[in-house]
Amino acid sequence: MSHAEAAAIEVHSATGLSSRKILMWTFIGSECMLFGSLITTYLVYRGKSLVGPYPEDLLNIPFITVTTFVLLMSSLMMVLALAAVQRGDMKWGKIWLFMTALLGMVFLGGQVFEFNHFVHEGLTLKTNLFGGTFFLLTGTHGAHVAVGVIWLLNLFFLAQRGRLTQANAETVEIAGLYWHFVDVVWIVLFTLIYLLV
């Protein structure tokens, strides 16, 4: 979404809220239904695979606990980034934005490693229902994290060139809303896929 979107029209706000923030909150509502449908599909097919490998053969809870911790820490970085930009401290703003994206990339790296490992162990999309539902659900989440990382890096580069300043704190806030949402979704997935295996 553009930084200047609605600049000419948004002089008037009936609720006093920013239109872009309402847009992001409503979009997140729609995303809840998307992940809700995917999670339901995963749960409906839990234990329905006719051939292995089964979840209990493959899922590495300690490893994913570490990457989960990394992703949660990225949310902390995001909070610090927004706070820095809001008080006009662009030096730390840039550092925290970059750190958020970096931790997101570490999480994605962990996911790539995990997917690779599963494929080597003989689990692909086609192997059984577990393979299909697992890769689709965690893959969709991973795609959301990847979009978030690209978004954050864009903000970082804009800040680097002086085009993102304290005046654009709302842009960072909206990216933050998305980022925290993606994190919350992971907490649900971590619980339902890994902890309840």
């Binding site: 979404m1 000419a8 029209i9 998307l34 689709l136």
Partner: protein
Amino acid sequence: MSATGARAAEGGSHSHEGTYSGGLWSWITTVDHKRIGVMYGLSAFFFFLMGGLEALLIRLQLGSPESTLIDPDLYNQLFTMHGTTMVFLAIMPLSAAFFNFIVPLQIGARDVAFPRLNAFSFWLFFLAALFMNASFLFGGAPDAGWFGYANLTSTQYSPGMRIDFWVLGLMVLGVSSIAAALNFIVTIINLRAEGMTFMRMPLFTWMTLITSFLLVIAFPAITVGLVLLMFDRMFGTLFFNPLAGGDVLLWQHLFWIFGHPEVYILLLPGLGVVSEIIPVFSRKPLFGYAFVVYSGILIAFLGFGVWAHHMFAVGLGPVANTVFSATTMLIAIPTGVKIFNWIATLWGGSLKMWTPLYFSLGFISMFIIGGLSGVMHASAAADLQQTDTYFIVAHIHYVLFGGVMFALFAGMYYWIPKITGRMLSDRLGKLHFWIMLVSFNVTFFPQHFLGLHGMPRRTFTYESGLGFEAMNLMSTVGSMVLGASMLIFLWNVLRMLRKGEPAGANPWEGSTLEWSTASPPPHYNFKVLPTVHSRDPLWAEDTGDSMHPDDPSVPEPHMPGPSFFPLLTAIGIIVMAAGALTTTLPVVFVGVGVLLFGVYGWALQPLEH
């Protein structure tokens, strides 16, 4: 370049304050909600005629028993594309045309909250509609029904690209619908005029808001269903493969969790249109405004709890069937409330018997018939008898044609003078109404009996001697007249464009804000944003001094500049879909490239330029 300056400078012969100018390019790059509304309307009407032609071919085939006019394969394509086209490419975008043109005017805003996102929604819809219909030229159209039940859609039973056209087209249409709905939610919540509280909003705006919430909540479910299906077809996953433990009913659940709210997505805008027209043509405020609003919300809410009534015949068991029967019957209550409110509004009013009111009354009566047959198959026991027969075909056409299309035609007759600044002929409008009403009933009323006598739907022919001949012939004759009645409407529109009388700002003496500005409205809608103090601001006496939509002493407001990037972004998505369709990775990458270029161009282009 400054948008308003350039528009005024390029205006040529008919350039005066607030008018548009420029040729095709200015339409392609427009971000103006009124032009986008017009484009939605024209393309939706084109696809409405196309879906109508498909229906006429179906009726020709069924006009006589054991007909060989159309082979079974083409028949399957025709009923699939008829349903898909009417739902996604005709009724939804026709409603979107009104959302776009009317809602910003009704709430006293200059445009939607995100004008370029709005252009993107339109172009994505338009390209996806062309994409899906292109299937007719490449090996045949989708042929598994508009509901695409698994495992009819598996590669085993549907090899080739037909189903892929359908899957990818619907996914892209979903993105377009969600983007448009998000935009309208924000617009209605945030761009209302000074003083327009939620309980002072016009009913059409209310129904647009509710419909938009339904869209953003319902579409993700079908998107997930379509993704599962696409993975099954393209990557060999096992989601809908019973041999590997997959469950074909999962598709039906995901489809109808979307599909039933979708019925209300189609219906609620029509209820909104009629709720606008009846008070204006009765010269009375709407009876029980709050009841009409709350029953709209209740319909939307209950709409998410009834999906399995489409699945009574699959064997969900008595508990599920009973629950879904009960919730389905409950929906009749808020719907009935609305009907009583409309009738109470008409009661004692000084009725202006012009075309929009004719179509609104046609809507009420036909919709009641469709609602009654709907309550009949809300009972699971009765539904087992009726499911997959022509009884259901009759029901959905009474609701969607007798209901929604009559309401949308009412809306067209009501608002086209605002859109073009000229009046349609009332005489031709009434002629259109009577022919459409009679031929509609001749077409669809016999189908109730055909269905109760056991004629199955989606079957390309029937044997002679079963007692189906006469009623099928009647239905076919009716459908031809129904199709021809559209020509009267088209003739009326052409006549209006050539020599229609000027409409003036408020030809119907309407009460809502869209009638306070010129017809057609200047591109900025209102020079001075209005302030409202009541539900019917143009009828209230205390608002006379707060409406200055065209004060000449006020300079023209600045409006967002045109942009090519929304179309470019939409093209990127369609190229990706074409790449996925033909499973050629390079094409997908080209699409991703165009998409990224479009998104970055969009994000970095200032709104005013």
